[in-house]
Symmetry: C2
Subunit: 525 residues, 2 copies
């Protein structure tokens, strides 16, 4: 992952002439990309680690696994939200963790936490570095120093149980690494969020990630059978059975704990055989309300496809549903994508039932091609964002979820909040939306905002984000469906869980992290 943009350099490509023409027309943006600083030229805040602390950390992980190297520190300087990237592209000194530790295993993570707790060093657990909510900011809290704890060496696949359909994956395995190891056993996890190519198993669990195939395979938290967690106060090994009534489900306290309550080192996950076959079917609906109602009908009937998504009129129009082809030939109305995975018999049975329901609810079948194109380009959007940022266009996303009955209201309120705040700043923007995750009782809404960058694009977006968050909370949505809380959503946590809920989280933290070293400033207000 490059330090000031998404992904690998090979994934980056300049905007097409078509898109540049569109941007010039709509936003008056000339389309000349800025030159970004070479990473070697970027001054970093000096490491605050004392020689004694450095030696103490080296004693745990070994000299070769404790780095104060400029490049290592830069690559662990935070996540990949648009404000993160804008900050990195700004002039001046950058903040970074004071060192990066690469522990070998669960025992070394435990030992690191014990040492850092005793020596008052803050710890930010680091997986793929894909947070878009400030969850990886190298915040020191009340401590003089902070280290990034990189979980990349916890990369094993163990306890493969094809009968039960479970496997234990190290927290540091990236999405592709996990799928590759599982594929050797004929198995797949089926968790494909947009961050798939870089994000890790531990990060998925710590942030309650949700993948594009969630209708078929569930959210990541649904897949978690067992969690191994290291904390400064000791370790936890949670989850003994596929279901239990043995009191509160403590897995659900550490799933979503974002490194603030412990560090997840291994996760036993529900997996499934690599699908025998995949069927694709795209749809057009006359409008978003009709399309949303159709998706609702299918999921409530228990006939959910593996993937089921619906773009609104604006997104369909710009064809952002196919991120690699922005501005290409657009279909009218609202585009929906469905895929069906499994055995041939299951795909046949399930797709027959779902297709009948979608057609009866007003869908026009568009054939396989648009659904296959969506799948082909589904990890490309963050690269497109980088190219847009480079030419002075603001591009950011945010997401929420609510009940089916409240979906149109929430969508309208958030759209208005974003549109109004950006227009008021003299930068009218395009706000697009899609449903990417459906449940029997409701769905997620994922918004993409594109507009011209103002003089201070960080302040520009902060106003829009504040308005959108307030609108979400006021309209009864959740402040985040799958991006997590981090630093950016913390202001709305009391709205989400109430003051007593916040107090419960604080109390839990005091039990497992008495010194408060774990990811300071994140999650818990």
């Amino acid at each position: 992952m490059v330090w000031d943009a998404w992904g690998s350099p090979s994934g980056h490509k300049p905007l097409s002439d078509q898109i540049r023409g569109l941007l010039a027309q709509v936003f008056g943006v000339s389309g000349e990309p800025v030159t970004r600083r070479d990473e070697g030229d970027v001054p970093l805040r000096a490491s605050a680690l004392t020689p004694e602390q450095h030696a103490g950390l080296v004693a745990v992980v070994g000299a070769e696994n404790l780095s104060i190297d400029h490049r290592d520190r830069m690559l662990h300087a935070g996540g990949k939200s648009t404000p993160d990237l804008l900050r990195r592209r700004a002039d001046g000194e950058q903040d970074a963790p004071d060192a990066v530790a690469f522990p070998a295993d669960h025992a070394e993570v435990l030992a690191l936490l014990k040492y850092c707790s005793a020596k008052a060093i803050a710890v930010v657990p680091f997986g793929g570095g894909t947070s878009v909510v400030g969850g990886l900011d190298p915040a020191r809290g009340r401590f003089p120093a902070v280290i990034a704890l990189d979980l990349g060496r916890l990369n094993t696949l163990t306890d493969v149980d094809p009968i039960s359909g479970t496997a234990t994956l190290g927290a540091g395995l990236s999405g592709p690494q996990a799928e590759e190891l599982l594929a050797r056993h004929g198995l797949s996890l089926g968790h494909f969020p947009q961050s798939f190519e870089y994000a890790t198993i531990g990060g998925f669990a710590a942030t309650r990630s949700s993948g594009q195939a969630s209708a078929g395979y569930g959210r990541f938290d649904d897949m978690i059978m067992r969690l191994r967690v290291a904390t400064p106060a000791g370790e936890l090994d949670l989850g003994r059975a596929p279901a239990s009534a043995a009191g509160p489900d403590l897995r659900e306290l550490f799933s979503g704990s974002e490194g603030a309550l412990g560090i997840i080192t291994a996760v036993t996950l529900r997996v499934h055989p690599v699908p025998e076959t995949t069927a694709y079917q795209a749809w057009s609906f006359p409008d978003f309300a009709t399309g949303a109602n159709a998706l609702r009908t299918v999921i409530q009937a228990g006939a959910a496809p593996t993937v089921m998504r619906l773009s609104d009129e604006a997104e369909t129009g710009l064809n952002l549903a196919r991120a690699g082809d922005i501005g290409g030939a657009a279909v009218g109305g609202c585009l929906a994508v469905t895929t069906f995975e499994g055995t041939a018999a299951h795909v046949a049975a399930r797709s027959a039932e779902a297709i009948e329901l979608l057609a009866a609810a007003g869908g026009t079948a568009l054939g396989e091609a648009p659904a296959q194109e969506w799948e082909h380009g589904r990890f490309a959007a963050p690269y497109l964002r980088d190219a847009l940022l480079d030419v002075g266009v603001l591009c950011e996303t945010l997401e929420t979820a609510t009940s089916w009955a409240n979906l149109a209201n929430l969508k309208a309120k958030v759209t208005a909040a974003l549109t109004d705040t950006l227009t008021a700043q003299g930068t009218p923007a395009l706000v697009m939306c899609h449903i990417s995750h459906t449940y029997p009782t409701g769905a997620s809404l994922y918004f993409t905002v594109v507009g011209k960058q103002a003089e201070d694009p960080i302040a520009q977006w902060a106003k829009a984000k504040q308005a959108a968050g307030d609108a979400i909370v006021a309209a009864g949505g959740t402040i985040t469906h799958h991006h997590a809380v981090g630093a950016d959503h913390k202001p709305w946590m009391a709205d989400e869980i109430g003051d007593l809920g916040v107090q419960v989280l604080r109390t839990v933290k005091s039990a497992v992290d008495p010194a408060g070293i774990l990811n300071p400033g994140k999650l818990i207000p």
Copy 2:
């Protein structure tokens, strides 16, 4: 609910001559029922409530809703495990709560908890009184007095949302009351545990109940969208969306909290339209392993029926799968029951897929009748237990869950533990088992034990239960899949969640119940 047995007097019936003959033959039990004490003749421990406390409680709920009546206290004296019933049938004084409060609503529950916290009165929340794990014992802990807080008046249905398929149900609604209120809107919850006729919405949530239709509608905790909880430290209102990544899911901390962390006063639940149609299909498998493998195949293919159960050879032989017909004409091998609910189209599609898989996995279709008979008699087993206890036969159940790969091992270990301990006491027993809840990664095991009562049947069962619990933990199962922890499973909680997990629960309790008045002695070691 009668005080010393299950259910209503009209549900009780003497054993058939056929069963009595069988009991005489197998256990040498004569079959003459004992005469039970009239409830008016049972001496109760004197109420320890002071006049000041009595007046204080009356000030919250009104004189007509605070009872120290003999009968009210008896009816709130505990749950319905076999040891509970044996204790009630024993001579001598009975323990009971010092008073029973019947608050009107959430605000009165909050006020009661505030008062009891200030005045050092223990509180046992009481729903349907169906706990079989000692969860309702009127334990005082370190307090001089304990009250039962009966939630029966919290019995409203509000916020019916047929679009989203959600409704908010008062904690005190029993299963039938909830279904009746929902049916007026054409909706159903579909939660049918064996305790259905008496157990309540709040109890289902507080104990992580699982109903017989869990394959179709999920466990009760899966259905919970929103929880309203009263605690001595204030209130919680958790759950804003069908799914969220806003940190730990605190609903999962209060779901399964068994009255020890707060009192659940209302639950917003996922509901569904009353099924258009139900299809029934019973099966015979040559043995338990083949049957279990068939169930696994179906649930892993995503083709689960609404109900899917499998009795082992012993249970099938005794025909306990049809509890009203014990000793009746038995089928050989292992009996399985499947039902399919939903729209006609969904039932047709789903049953076609499942039936093909079950047949391919070695099942012989037995037609509809045995599945319909099972459904007809499915709430009768606790009445049968009472009739058995009356004639000197011990009858009790226990349950666990594990992965598919570990299922046969766990079943063998628990069966051996029960058989060995009871045989060693000179009372060889019959141990039967069924699978009643299936998941992609594993299943539950539900054991029924029948044998001759020893001189001290409570001590006799305590030894068997201890051995079974130890065997479950040693073999990797959960100490409870759906009966909850209460007092009886507390000794195994540290095995289940570890010492640090126990510490986390204690810490959470200190935040929401600083005085420790909530259900002392339950759940948390």
